[in-house]
């Protein structure tokens, strides 16, 4: 027999339990990293869900691949061949420049090392919360992905890994309101902090004086100062510079060069250890080398 009227008190008691619990979870998730263990455990449970959600998109892709006719494939192939030739020609020039750069840096005595290891990962086709700028990739701890790892696409910096579990990793995009990265203007080396706005194609440059030498069209590259992103990767292009009276700093808006909402493949980067010259003896090499993945990765020359 179902009781008719004895729900009230028990529901209230339950609410009195769940509300403080969720509030403490919120505070803990905001301020303490220990909770990541709980989240990564639960997200392993959720993984089949992601797999199922991504299935239609993936099936469509395979079907498209099967149904593409020969002529189309030939055309594609020719196009890719051409692209490859052009890229290789550019690479030759780049290799020479890199060697020269290295030689000059050696002359200066700075311990700068180019050459980073990358791993290609695919985005999982699932829609996460539309009010945060984050994406899910199909490589996790099993592939050696670690928290704080920089993520690039073919054009530029996309973001960094904020959560991992054995199978997947969550990437916070540079346009999320909680993300900032140190950049410099490629033209003159002016340093700034690029902060996300929560809008997919907009970055703000904070605390730049009104007379700073920056103008629309300037390319921003990573400065490598934060220690997370390797230096010299393109980030964004300045679209708007305003000096409003009443504001203490200039309003500088930039548009990311990475195709944040369209990229399908991303590159996970392992920076070469100790990229910046240090005055201290080399005792604190980053823990990056211990988390390097096994041999199934490609290496840039």
């Amino acid at each position: 027999m179902k009781p008719l009227f004895n729900r009230g008190t028990s529901a209230t008691a339950r609410l009195a339990l769940t509300v403080p619990l969720s509030l403490s979870l919120l505070v803990a998730d905001l301020h303490y990293p220990q909770l990541d263990l709980l989240r990564s455990t639960l997200s392993v449970v959720v993984f089949p869900l992601y797999y199922l959600a991504a299935l239609p998109a993936r099936l469509g892709e395979t079907l498209e691949g099967r149904l593409a006719d020969e002529k189309q494939l030939r055309l594609n192939n020719a196009q890719l061949h051409n692209d490859n030739l052009i890229l290789q020609a550019q690479l030759q020039k780049y290799a020479a420049l890199e060697a020269e750069n290295q030689r000059l840096r050696n002359l200066l005595g700075s311990a700068f090392k180019v050459g980073e290891r990358v791993l290609i990962a695919e985005l999982l086709e699932v829609d996460l919360d539309p009010y945060r700028q984050q994406v899910l990739v199909d490589k996790g701890e099993n592939a050696g992905v670690f928290i704080g790892q920089p993520v690039l696409d073919a054009q530029a910096v996309m973001g960094q890994v904020i959560r991992t579990n054995p199978l997947t990793a969550t990437v916070l995009l540079i346009t999320d309101a909680a993300h900032s990265l140190p950049v410099q203007v490629n033209r003159n080396g002016l340093r700034a902090i690029a902060t996300g706005t929560g809008i997919i194609n907009q970055l703000n440059l904070l605390h730049l004086p009104k007379k700073a030498d920056i103008r629309p069209g300037d390319l921003l590259v990573t400065s490598g100062l934060g220690g997370v992103f390797p230096p010299g990767y393109p980030v964004a292009r300045v679209t708007e510079v305003r000096a409003e009276s009443g504001e203490r700093f200039a309003t500088v808006i930039a548009e990311p060069t990475a195709r944040l909402e369209r990229s399908h493949e991303v590159l996970l980067v392992w920076s070469a250890p100790s990229t910046s010259p240090s005055l201290l003896p080399d005792t604190n090499t980053p823990a990056v080398s211990s988390t390097n993945p096994p041999a199934a990765t490609t290496t840039t020359p």
Binding site: R7, R14, S22, L49, D127
Partner: protein, 160 residues
């Protein structure tokens, strides 16, 4: 044995709701995605008030937080308060006509969004655009149909 089967069906529908929440959709549809999990929870609390309640809501909120990548506790908080209200008002809600019920569901969904907004604000996220509230209206329009569909399902499967 019967209890087991009931629970299995509730969990299955809730998992489908989670799936619908992360299913990729084209960009313009993104903001019209109804709050599937919230709708399903309201339905189950109204149908089986002695079985599904605040704890279910809390747990599903937690799972949604993990799945959608929101702050842990954001939906857990909003769902448990929403679930509590449905449990408290369930006897009244059941007597309502379809349109009255849809309106109350809109209020509940809006409350859920409001609590989420508050958490987003406390976490330092920017206030989302007006499109943030579209989902509640979609949920309201969807509610009568969802109710009929799920009621048929429960009757066929003999869950009371």
């Amino acid at each position: 044995m019967l209890i087991r089967r009931d629970t299995g069906i509730i969990i299955a529908t809730l998992i489908i709701a989670l799936l619908l929440t992360v299913l990729p959709m084209s960009d313009w549809l993104l903001y019209f995605r109804p709050q599937w999990v919230a709708l399903l929870l309201i339905f189950w609390i109204l149908t089986l008030p002695t079985r599904v309640g605040v704890f279910w809501s809390f747990f599903m909120g937690l799972m949604l937080d993990v799945t959608a990548g929101t702050l842990l506790g954001q939906h857990a908080l909003s769902f448990s308060i929403m679930g509590y209200l449905v449990v408290e008002l369930q006897q009244r809600l059941q007597l309502f006509r379809a349109w009255q019920q849809a309106l109350s569901v809109w209020l509940l969904l809006t409350l859920e969004r409001l609590l989420s907004l508050w958490v987003l604000g406390a976490a330092g996220q920017p206030t989302p655009a007006l499109s943030y509230w579209f989902a509640t209206f979609v949920g309201m329009i969807l509610w009568p149909w969802l109710m009929i569909l799920l009621r048929d399902l429960t009757r066929t499967l003999d869950i009371t």
